[in-house]
Structures are given as C-alpha cells and as structure tokens.
Amino acid sequence: MLKTIAIVASLGLALSVTAEAQTPRKGGTIRMTAPYGSSFTSMDIHTTQRAQDEIYAKALHRSLYIWNSAEGRPVLELAKEDTVSDGGLVHTFKLRDDAYFHNGRKMTADDIIWSYTRIMDGSKAYPGARFVRIIEGAAAVEKGQAKDISGLKKIDDFTLEMKLTEKVDPGFYFFTALTSIYPADEGGKESFLQKPIGLGPFRFVEHVPGSRVVLERWDRFYKPGKPYADKIIVSVMGEAAARDIAFRNKEIDTSVLGPAQYVAYQADPDLKGTIVEVAEVFTRYMGMNPAFKPFADKRVRQAINYAIDTDLIINKLVKGKAYRATSWLPLTSPLYDKTMKPYPYDPAKAKQLLADAGYPAGFEFEWTTSQNESWGLPIVTAVIPMLDKVGIKVKVKQVETAVLAEVIRTGDYQAFIYSQQSGPDPQSALKCFHSSTPQSACNYMNFKNTAFDKLIDESGQTDDAAKRGQLLQQANALLYDEAPVWFFNYNKAVMAVQPWLKGIQLNPTELTHQNVEDLWVDETSPAK
C-alpha cells in the first residue's frame, strides 16, 4: 500500500516538476474528451449531476471555491477572503471585484445569492441543492416555505455574509460546478441554454449535441496571464475503443482508460509515458442490509470480508486499476489511516465466524448488481465461488444502473454492489453512516451505531482540527470493525495524456475535472 502511495505521490511530483521546468506557451487548442456517455445532458450545469457535464463546465463556469489538487483541498476562487465568526457558523466573504461574466458584466454578491436561490427551487430538484442546503434557510426555500435564503445577506456589492447550519468548511460544499455562479439577469432566460454565460476562463462558442462543446479564451478572466490556450474542444466519446484509436492517432489530448486499456498502455513503450493515475475519492463495496437476518450480525459481515480474496480480484479482474480498500475513507483522504490493514483473505476464519453467528452451514442471499465492469456483474461473478467455499450461496439480481440507485435508496435489497463518493471531505463522507442520515440520502446500509454517532457528533462540535481528525479516524476504524460493507476498493482513475499537454492536475475528486486555465500545449501539438 505504501508503495502505491509513493507511486501516486511521485507521479504527481514528476508532473508538477515538468510543468514548472517549462514556461507555459500561449495559444493552441486543448482537445479533451468526455468519456461518460453519448452526450452532455445540458448546457445548464445547475440541472445535471453527471461528471460528464462538469468537464466542459470547469472551463465555462466558476464557483465560490475551486479544488486545488496540489493542496488536496478546496480554496477560495470568487472571493479573496473569508472571515469566520459566531462559533464557525457565519462566513463573511470579500468577493473578487475583477470577475467578469462572459457578457462583460462584473460579478457581484447579487449573482451568488440569485444562483444559490435558483438551485434551491425544490420543484426543479437541482442536484446542487444538497450543497446549498448547508446555508441557513435554504431548506425552507426548497420546500416552498420561503422565497429567499435567510442565511445569505448582501453587505455590499462585493461582500457576502453566509450563515451555515453546521460548523463545516464551506469549501467542500461550494467547489463543484453544480454550484456555479450565473449572471442573475441572464441565467433565467431560455436563451441561456443555447448560449450559456459564465465566469470561467473560456467562453462558449458552440455545442453540437452528442458530439462536442467548443470554447474560446475569455480575455477578461481574472487570473493574470491565464488561460494559456486559445481554445478548448471537449468531444463526447463514450466508447473506449474509439477513444483509444483517436488517442493513438493524436486526434485527442486526453483519454480515460478502462482496465483492459490500462494494461495495454502499460505494456506499450510508446504509450506508457502518457499514463497519469490517482486514487479517486470513491469507495467500491458490497452493502449488506441489516434487516436481512444474517447481515444483522457483525460476525457474518466480517466473515464475508474474510471470505473474499479481494487482492486477487483487484489484480486479475480489475487489472490493478484500483487500490485495495481498508475501511471507508479512501487513500487520498486527508484522514486515511496508513496503519490500518485490510481484512486478510482467510476462509477458515470466515467459516468460524459464521459458525459462531449460528450459520455453520452458511445461508443464501440475493445480490443486486448492475453490469458495471469495475463494480458490477463481473465482480459478483468472481466473488460467488469464494463465498460458496464458506457455505454462502448467492442469487444474482441484475438491474440497470439507474434502477440500482433507486433500489439502494429505498432499501429494497439484501445486498448490493456499488461505488459511492467517500470524499473529499471526510466529515461529510463519514456522516453518511450517522443514524440521523436517511437511507435515501446516503446511509444506504441504514447503519445505526451509538458509538459511531457520538464520534461524528463530537467531531462536528469541536473547533480543534487535530481532535476532529482523531475522532473521524476513530469513526473510520469503527466502521472497519462493524463491517457494514465488504470493503472492496478505491477507484484508481487512469488517464492517458499526450506529451504536449502540460499542467494536468491529479484531481482525486474526478481526474477529468481539470482547472483548465492551468493547462497548456507546447509547439509539438498537432492542433494549432
């Protein structure tokens, strides 16, 4: 494990060193790919929660915060300063006075208030609502009980006061494009969908649905000298094999790699150097429903963790394109516990635990899965004989991914396999297991544990960051012991990047989401 951390770290170091050693070149075209579907859902980024859409949105829009991959945390973007008062609940932001929308108008506090209020329109179910809900009074707007968010106050054009409902770092809530700031006078118009206006380093040129989005440099972007490139083209390329040919043919600058391509690229001396990888903040697991009698017993859940040869599956089936999970918090989480060891493969111990729990002959359960190659049917198929060895029989129930999400949220399962966001904020990631978190929100295993609740509650109340970290690490260790899930892996995101594209950031929240103003292409790029 330490070796893998070292590899990730050295890769990051190598990339940053390369970027620093060369002077960024102005001009050229960056050709990125959007690999997660056949099209972009919408040019209104507030309406869509697909990672696919955020790829172009990172160029077009800006949020109050931005993810800084080098620091591994969100940092202020549209504000220069954040003053915290009232026991950590009130944040006063000094906003930038040099941020211009692509229609030439300067951004003010009104635009932020308008954007957040729009996102809280409950009848539209904007996905960013789950973040804005942290502002006092936002939930009332969502439920139609109020028109304005009481926790947002404009002090002047460039000063905004925000009162939160909990003592959290607002950066983790306001850095994604789902909470992008729109121009208040334009964002509500129908024409906005055809020609979106943002604050990002590139402005909209065209959207060819199902094919591409083209953006060009916004000269009034607030970061001096940036962006470097003249143009960005984001092509929709859902088929991995087609992406592979286009990448080898030098028609695209980035390509997300699946397990099979990961192996092929590693074996190819011409392509090996193009690979960048990072442990993303997603944990893959098999969730167990405590309402199903055998899974109510901790020993049964632990037995399942012992019965599965997880390393074998990761190495052979996932082709090494994943990091072994120990507990819930992933490798790139600031609170990842390096001393913790994953459950070893020990069928004898699994059998003993099953016998202790009253299931010496095992039992049968239904496992709901999608077809996903990394956390779906192929994995389930590989696990079945391992569980069979300790007497546990599995009945597979295959559903579509959209259906799986619904099944999980309604609790209509005995076990399921899934990939769930487990960062970047460790506090909110672990809070999913708090008994007060509804199953439909993210407590999918309906986990209830008094000791765990206490640790999470205490971590939310303390002002001491070190103590908070300790409490959350204890909570993570408690999860390991309680084993509400089979801890499978943390996603290893892998992307191939052409040698002429510089400044790629190892973003653990989603590798394809790049702060594009920092990217540049050298003179060897075939795209002029």
């Binding site: 579907g37 056949s38 099209s39 859902t41 919408s42 209104d44 309406t47 869509t48 929660q49 409950g122 009848s123 539209k124 179910a125 996905p127 609502a129 789950r130 969502e142 439920k143 139609g144 969908l193 060819v208 649905p209 199902g210 094919s211 591409r212 092509s235 929709v236 390329m237 859902g238 088929e239 094999a241 087609a242 040919i245 286009a246 080898r248 043919n249 028609e251 559903v399 579509e400 991914t401 959209a402 259906v403 999400a405 619904e406 099944v407 949220r409 309604t410 509804p438 439909s440 929100a441 993210c442």
Partner: protein, 307 residues
C-alpha cells in the same frame, strides 16, 4: 393518387398512436423513476413538488391524454432533465442523422445494386463468389466492430480520414460512419438484386425478347432492370427506415450528433418526454419513407395502381 395519399396518411395515425401508447405504457411500468434519480436525498416534500412540476402526480391516463392533445399541436413536451422543449432537442439532431442515413443508403445503393447485377449476370463465376462473400460478411459483421476496423485502417494506419467527430459536417467526417452504417444494407441489396435478376433472367418475357433477336444489353436494360427495380426499391425502403434505429450504435461510436445518442441518454436518464419524442420521430420517418416507396412503385411500373 391523391386519395391514395390521403388514405395512407390516415392509416399511419393508428400506427403512431399505438407506438406512443406502447412507449408511454412501458415507461409507466419499468423500474427507475425520474423523480427518485433527480432528488438526491428522497425528501418526500421535495419529491412531491417535483412530481407536481413534472405532471407526474396525475394518473397515467390523464398524462397520456394531455400528451396526445399536446402532440396534436406539435408540442412534444419539455425534457425532464434539460427543461428544453423536446422539439428543439430533436430539431438539433435530426439533420445530422438524416445526413448520415442518406449517405449510408447512397453508399449501399451505389455499391450493392451493381454488385448484385454483376453477380447475377455471371452466376457461379469468381466475381459472383467474391461478391457474395462480401455480401454475407457485410450482413453478419457487427457495426461496432466494423466501425473500429474502418477507423483503424483509414484513420490510424492510412491517415486519410478523421477517426471520429462531426467537424464542420463535411464529407471527410461523414465517410467512415456512413460506410459503417451502409455496409449491411449494401450487402442485403446485393443479395436481393442478385436473386431478383436471376429470377427475371429465366422469365418467359426475357426468353421471348431474346428469341426476337434483342441484344443482351437491351434485354438487361429494358426488361430485367425495370422488373428487378420493384424488389430493389422495396428492400431500399425497408432498409432506409431500419437505418434510423441502427444509427444509434454508429452515432455513439463516431461521436456523431444524431437522434441515436439523444435516445440512448434519455432512456438511461428516464427522460420520458425526450424518449417519446425521439421514438416518434424514428417511427414517422419509417412511415414516411415507406409511403414514398409505395408512391414510387407506380412510377416504376405503371401496372401498379393506387387503388
């Protein structure tokens, strides 16, 4: 002819209604609702507001009735996901899909029909065998795999064409997807043409023409071709309509901005109005092409009446 046309158009109405009803009914029973996929924490109050906003709080028959009423005015509804009118979404994508289908069909006709003729005129020859091997291969090859092969050859190895994308909509971007889509109807046309020509070549009227001293070229041109055209046209019409559905795979593979990718994403995201609109356009296209073919029969063979 006019009464025939009106009658045929009226006949399409029950077909369209049946398709709309089927799609509506299917999406009412399949698991996975738009509300639960959009609402992040399943708050009942928020979900109730969403249902009202999307009209999903109404019984199915009420929703179906209002959908049909809107359809009659040309309103396909508003996308649940993007909040855009479905007609706008479809309008953006119809052009590229039609461009692709017409190019694929042109490829199929230009290659397939002559190939079928040549094979039939020299049955059992090397040319015939080779042509039929090509035809059978074309029919049995998966489009996805064929597309990748063409990309590999013409883009990566030869460097003649771009491997993906729409570019400016120009010919060089169209060739590979059109070839991929067109190979299967090309193969079918080649086989159909061969079979039709072989059958006609042994017909009494062809023997009579030969016995009267008519040259082989004239026999083929005036008797065989004309009679074979009816069957070729029927196959062409059916393939034209079917290509609309088959284009889904090719559009996705080549990042071509057509209705196919809209349909796939809309199904996955349970965007019912967008799915219904896309399917409706595919069905209307299929019916329109077949109507056109029916009309063309009369032009090719005056014995066929529009009674």
């Amino acid at each position: 002819m006019l009464s025939f046309l009106i009658r045929r158009i009226l006949q399409t109405i029950p077909t369209v209604l049946a398709v709309v009803l089927l799609v509506f009914a299917l999406f009412s029973v399949v698991p996975g609702s738009i509300v639960s996929t959009m609402s992040d924490d399943g708050d009942p109050q928020v979900e109730a507001r969403m249902k009202t906003q999307l009209g999903l709080d109404q019984p199915v028959y009420v929703r179906f009735g209002s959908y049909i009423a809107n359809l009659a005015t040309g309103d396909f509804g508003t996308s649940f996901r993007t909040r855009e009118p479905v007609t706008t979404m479809i309008a953006k994508r119809t052009g590229p899909t039609l461009q692709l289908i017409f190019a694929a069909m042109a490829f199929a006709i230009v290659i397939g029909v002559p190939l079928g003729f040549i094979s039939a005129l020299r049955p059992g020859s090397i040319v015939d065998t080779a042509a039929m091997v090509v035809a059978v291969s074309g029919l049995s090859m998966a489009k996805f795999w064929l597309g990748l092969l063409l990309m590999y050859l013409f883009a990566l190895k030869l460097g003649w064409l771009p491997s993906f994308g729409y570019g400016d909509g120009g010919l060089k971007y169209l060739i590979l997807p059109a070839m991929t889509l067109g190979v299967s109807p090309m193969a079918l046309l080649a086989r159909t043409t061969r079979a039709a020509v072989l059958e006609i070549m042994t017909a009494d009227f062809v023997r009579t023409a030969r016995s009267k001293g008519m040259s082989e070229t004239r026999v083929v041109k005036w008797h065989v071709t004309r009679n074979a055209l009816v069957l070729i046209l029927t196959t062409t019409g059916l393939q034209f309509g079917a290509l609309m559905g088959q284009a889904v795979v090719v559009e996705k593979l080549f990042s071509w901005p057509g209705i196919g990718s809209l349909l796939v994403d809309s199904v996955l995201q349970r965007d019912i109005p967008a799915v219904q609109g896309s399917i409706l356009v595919v069905v209307l296209f299929f019916l329109a092409v077949n109507l056109l073919i029916d009309l063309l029969y009369g032009v090719i063979d005056p014995r066929i009446r529009y009674a």
